[in-house]
Amino acid sequence: MTDFEPILVSEEVVAGYLPGVDILNGVDLTLGDGELVGIIGPNGAGKSTLVKAIFGLVTVRSGVVLLRGEDISNLAAHELVARGVGYVPQRENVFSTLTVEENLRMGLYLRPEIWDERLAAVHELFPLLADRKHQRAGFLSGGERQMLAMGRALMMDPRMILLDEPSAGLSPANQDLVFERVRQICDSGVSIIMVEQNARRCLQICDRAYVLEQGKNAHTGAGRDLLHDPKVIDLYLGTLGRAD
């Protein structure tokens, strides 16, 4: 199914926020080392919940999440960060009262000794963050915030990162920029799981993608194949899409 050595595996994950209401009803997922995996699906399919469950922000009720064979289900988020997993939430993904540089510093909370080296790497990827380093993050535009959020997650020199809808709320030009950077980050050796609403663009850059529906795996396959799969369109637009 994948040519990559698996770094993260989730098996039969069941999770939810409210007692008795499961959002994920058994999701399987494999992320290979150095792979960019997209997760798409209609609203309410449980895409964001899946990455939150992997990152320990939503309780995994059954099933298991393995990171290089180690069971990391329900570990506290900061312990996952220590194991080289980064996470960029969809909203409120920067500390708006802190400056850009302080935001980056918080990304490197656990390993301050590699600050200079990582700062240079992140600045190279997002030169804008160097220009704005003393600005409060609350004053950044939507696109700039997304760059900062990704930059913050990369400061730890993670082995893999989880991105929750990085293109949400951005202009098409900014979306393009974000997707370009995501691909670039992956090519530099970081494995990525990316939840996206913008399915087409996501599928264009992903190595592989999972399509979720009602908290379950619906389809999976290489990004380009899914892109033209009528079943995917069907999922999004239902019978509306069939007339197309």
């Binding site: 609203n43 098409p172 087409r200 369109i233 239902g238 019978t239 509306l240 007339a243 197309d244």
Partner: protein, 275 residues
């Protein structure tokens, strides 16, 4: 299934098209949060006695539009009328009294009231709800009538056996049902449902759909936010598509299916296909 008269079939499929008998007319409503434009609806009319679905990707501004129209949020700019009466600046509870009632995406059951009390709270024209009326008013016969009505409604929604339980002890799906039944106790002309089907099992979805159709058959106007396209297709007379705060398309469900703007809004643009 869409209503047989289908008075809307002859309308143009352009955003903001005027309706023959609009109950709700929205003009140029704008709401920004900081620099972000959440809602910017130039023109939108809702036809009386129909089911109108409001769809659109995450963050399109659907719930914000609901909040604005029902007085739970204030726009920077705009104007809207219910049955010809202006609603700008009218507090939310008065909007409800004028006949437009909403539900919430995260159900708001009144946990430490019983199911029956939840229903009775919503009942209209209870003189006992005023302070003096409660103390000295003759509210008991009204209460008895409301109770009969509430029990009938609970029975219809399959909650009558729970009437004396605390609403907090209901399951998630039952709360959804209760919230809808409760909204109906206000006897609204327009009922606005925010994702009534979210987090509900498929069997219950069918029940809810049945209830929503029944509302239209009772002559009520329903506006609802939904993300399951099959549901939208099955039940709505008219579909309004919101993306980045603006109405990008509207028309009968079949028309929406063939609209490229809608598909792009949902799936994202192909690379290079910038508008």
């Amino acid at each position: 299934m869409p209503s047989s008269e289908a008075p809307l079939d002859d309308l143009a499929r352009t955003p903001g098209v005027p309706k023959p008998d609009p109950i709700l007319i929205v003009d140029n409503v704008q709401r920004t949060f900081g620099g972000l434009q959440a809602v910017n609806v130039q023109s939108l009319q809702i036809q009386r006695g129909t089911i109108t679905s409001l769809i659109g990707p995450n963050g399109a501004g659907k719930t914000t539009l609901f909040n604005l129209l029902t007085g739970f949020d204030r726009p920077q700019h705009g104007d809207w009328h219910l049955n010809g009466g202006a609603l700008v600046g009218i507090p939310s509870f008065r909007v409800a009294r004028r006949g437009m009632v909403r539900t919430f995406q995260l159900t708001k059951s009144l946990a430490r009231l019983t199911v029956l009390e939840n229903m009775l709270v919503a009942a209209k024209d209870q003189v006992g709800e005023s302070f003096w009326g409660g103390l000295f008013g003759r509210w008991r016969h009204i209460e008895a009538a409301n109770e009969a009505k509430a029990m009938a409604s609970l029975e219809r929604f399959g909650l009558d056996h729970m009437a004396s339980h605390y609403a907090g002890s209901l399951s998630g799906g039952q709360r959804k049902l209760l919230e809808m039944a409760r909204a109906l106790m206000v006897e609204p002309e327009v009922i606005m449902l925010d994702e009534p089907m979210a987090g509900v099992n498929p069997a219950l979805t069918q029940t809810l759909l049945g209830h929503i159709s029944a509302l239209r058959d009772d002559g009520k106007t329903v506006v609802f936010i939904e993300h399951d396209m099959d549901v939208v297709q099955e039940i709505s007379d008219w579909v309004v598509v919101l993306s980045q705060g603006t109405v990008i398309a509207e028309g009968p469900p079949a028309h929406i299916a063939s609209n490229h703007d809608v598909i792009d809004a949902y799936l994202g643009l192909h690379h290079g296909e910038k508008p």
